[in-house]
Amino acid sequence: MAAQFTAKVYQNEFLPDGGTDINAIVTVDCVGAGEAGSSGGGAGEIIIVDTSGSMGSANMESAKVAASAAVDQILDGTSFAIVAGTHQAYQAYPITGYAGMVAMDANTRAQAHRAISQFRADGGTAMGAWLTLAGIIFDTVPALSQKHAILLTDGENRNETPQQLDAAIASVTGKFQCDCRGVGVDWVVPEVRRISQALLGSLDIIPAASQMQQVFAELMQQSMGRGVADAQLRVWSPQGAEVQFVRQVAPTVEDLTGRRIAVNPLTGGYPTGSWGDESRDYHVGVRLAAKDVGQEQLAARVQIAIGEEVVAQGLVKAKWSDDDELTTRINPEVAHYTGQTELAEAIQEGLAAKAAGDDATATTKLGRAVQLAKETGNEEATTRLKKVVDIDNEETGTVRLKRSVDKADEMALDTASTKTTRIKGGSSS
């Protein structure tokens, strides 16, 4: 069965006389996605493991176990390779002397396990080089329709300038997706977030080395369950209108606005990567030219396209009315995700201010975050915030910065800042 996409729109379509701005949440559901590679072209996986000296022997041993666990989850027939990363990048498997991938089977799986067991912690960290090599390896199998990598790091990107890292990210953006995990507390969240966001992947902290094995197995399992290789979100807006923003708001907040690719003069495409059986929410804001009271028009067509085929569409409408009861109504889904987006910003800005020693801004921002977490019912965020601030009043957002904070807790708050909860008792399921 081919994957089935559906799109549902949640909005208040009524605008007051002279009103111009329409907001809508579009929930996109995918069922029947099948296994990775099932849509033709085949799937490719690369496991990128930090083997720098900072890993030390304990972390290195855990990373070996984790990488092997991920290898075990790769389905037979899937093309794969393993990259070991220090201040340089090495293709640890297949051991061919040149860039390439092999198909997974019992034999190659056993060989991969042996190659992983040879990892030794030594050298520096240059994640840009790791990504570049992964890109070169994927390029050797151009037929692959679905390309995914897992990147593990434990430290700061010391052996490259930020510009070098950015250039490397840019050179592989759109080539493959990459989920990133940082083990321990010596890596830098915003640095790795740049990679995961650009490469349409997730980001998380693995506080303890012992958790690596499970995390890697689950990540690979999840990737193998994404049978839709690539889908594009499309937003059509009427001539003369302006798409103010396009954001993914669930399961995580990702601003897609700047990733627009023109499909035609009125339609922008935004990459969403591969899909399994899952549901994602998007928040679209459109500014229209005001029309007379009583007029109705379409503000946006929000579509999901596989290749050039539009497989689902939601209609965002605008109706001008002088009925205040209709125009002042706030759509609960829009309000919820507006709050969740602001929550993510408040956490990230608060932690950045705290890191820069600006305690006043940090206190204000994290206080606002506490307030928003409460308002939007994001209990996970509240729990994480409580590990960084003492809360005097949740409603007003009055907080004090804790004197001593576990670094891992602070990083977990940062990496999880973009995770959203869905509306409670709401219609988006």
């Binding site: 009427p238 001539q239 109705e296």
Partner: protein, 387 residues
């Protein structure tokens, strides 16, 4: 005449014509087996909207024929019913249509501004010879009930077809002619009611079952200067002579409404029609109708002017006949064409706010020699019908 064997009334045994909708002798309702010659009317193709119940699998608004270019920018209209360039919603044919069976009869039916569906309906027919014979029907669907847009159109067309099929006898004294036409109006109302009941596809366990489709009914037959009208509910008929003529403008029908009951009790029209429950009607067509026999009346036209049938979407803004006369004089200053005037009246109602669907049906009456005697006015001899 054809050589077919005579048809008899199942009620009284009298000989009736095959196209008769009722027995002229006893008034028994008949099912016409043929249409009166030369009066077959061409149906306006209208795509009906359907309420979508249960699981909403497709956008209800998406049911649209999209062949026409966008009315706003000329762009292509998408399969979803909106323009692919400017996003303006393509009007459904049901939302606005006109009828123009001859040079002297026309109708315009429109969604208005506020409502999202057009539950009004018109159905008109006429002979080509100006002033000879015309039928105007207006039905206003009750917006709180389900599928009233389907019901009202079915009702209006059923009534029109009955009235068209009813051949003008052209015999007897005027009084018998009025009585015969009043009978045919009752038959038309009965057929219209049957059409509304047929449009109800709810099951008894449906949550909407207690809210069956329903609509008003106003029909006018014009025959060589004689107007016979009948109504159920608050859609109206007016006789609006041209300004400066011998006759006064007059509202022919009397609403079956709470407002009308208050007027009868001494409240001013203005106050009653703006008061609480002003738009609550006391009679209607539909499965839950207690009484659908129309109140009928007649008038002999004197001078030139307009016979107008309309829904409350128009008269909400211009209730008094004298005001309507002024408005029509302004809107028809340059032409006596019924279609532009019907469209102009609808557009005018929309400019006033368009709070309801708007229907206007018009027939032009022309008299070259206005040497009439006595004032024209409603003749209530047959008021109350023959229930």
């Amino acid at each position: 005449m054809t050589a077919s064997s005579p048809v008899t009334c199942p009620g009284c045994g009298a000989e009736v014509a095959a196209h008769d909708a009722f027995c002229e002798a006893c008034g028994h309702t008949l099912t016409p087996t043929e249409t009166a010659a030369g009066q077959q009317t061409e149906e306006v193709p209208i795509t009906l909207s359907r309420s979508v119940r249960g699981t909403l699998t497709t956008d209800a608004d998406a049911v649209v024929s999209a062949a026409r270019p966008c009315a706003s920018c000329g762009g292509e209209v998408g399969a979803d019913g909106y323009c692919l360039t400017c996003g303006v919603k393509a009007p459904r044919e049901r939302d606005h249509y006109t009828e123009s069976p001859s040079s002297w009869v026309a109708a315009c039916c429109d969604r208005g501004i506020r409502h999202h569906r057009n539950e009004d309906a018109t159905a008109v027919a006429s002979d080509s010879e100006p002033g000879s014979r015309a039928v105007l029907v207006v039905c206003d669907g009750v917006s709180t009930s389900l599928d009233s847009d389907i019901a009202s159109l079915a009702a209006a067309r059923a009534a029109r077809d009955v009235l068209v099929a009813q051949q003008a006898s052209g015999l007897g004294v005027p009084a018998s002619q009025v009585a015969a036409l009043a009978k045919s109006l009752e038959a038309a109302a009965a057929q219209a009611n049957a059409a509304v009941v047929d449009a109800d596809d709810t099951e008894p366990d449906d949550t909407m079952h207690d809210n069956p489709p329903s609509c008003t009914f106003t029909a006018v037959v014009i025959q060589d200067g004689l107007v016979v009208h009948g109504n159920v509910g608050d859609s109206r008929a007016y006789w609006i002579p041209d300004q400066g003529g011998p006759a006064e403008p007059v509202m022919l029908t009397r609403d079956d409404s709470v407002a009308q009951e208050r007027i009868a009790a001494g409240v001013s029209r203005e106050e009653a029609e703006s008061g609480p429950q002003a738009h609550a009607i006391t009679k209607w067509l539909g499965r839950d109708s207690p009484d659908f026999v129309p109140t009928t009346g007649s008038v002999r036209l004197e001078g030139s002017g307009w016979v107008l049938a309309c829904s409350d979407g128009l008269w909400n803004y211009v209730s008094e006949a004298a005001d309507l006369q002024k408005l029509i004089a302004e809107l028809s200053a340059t032409s006596a064409d019924p279609l532009p005037l019907a469209e102009a009246l609808v557009a005018w109602a929309c400019e006033q706010g368009g709070k309801d669907n708007v229907s206007v049906a018009l027939a032009r009456h022309t008299e070259d020699s206005p040497e009439s005697t006595g004032p024209a006015g409603p003749d209530d001899a047959t008021q109350g019908g023959g229930a």
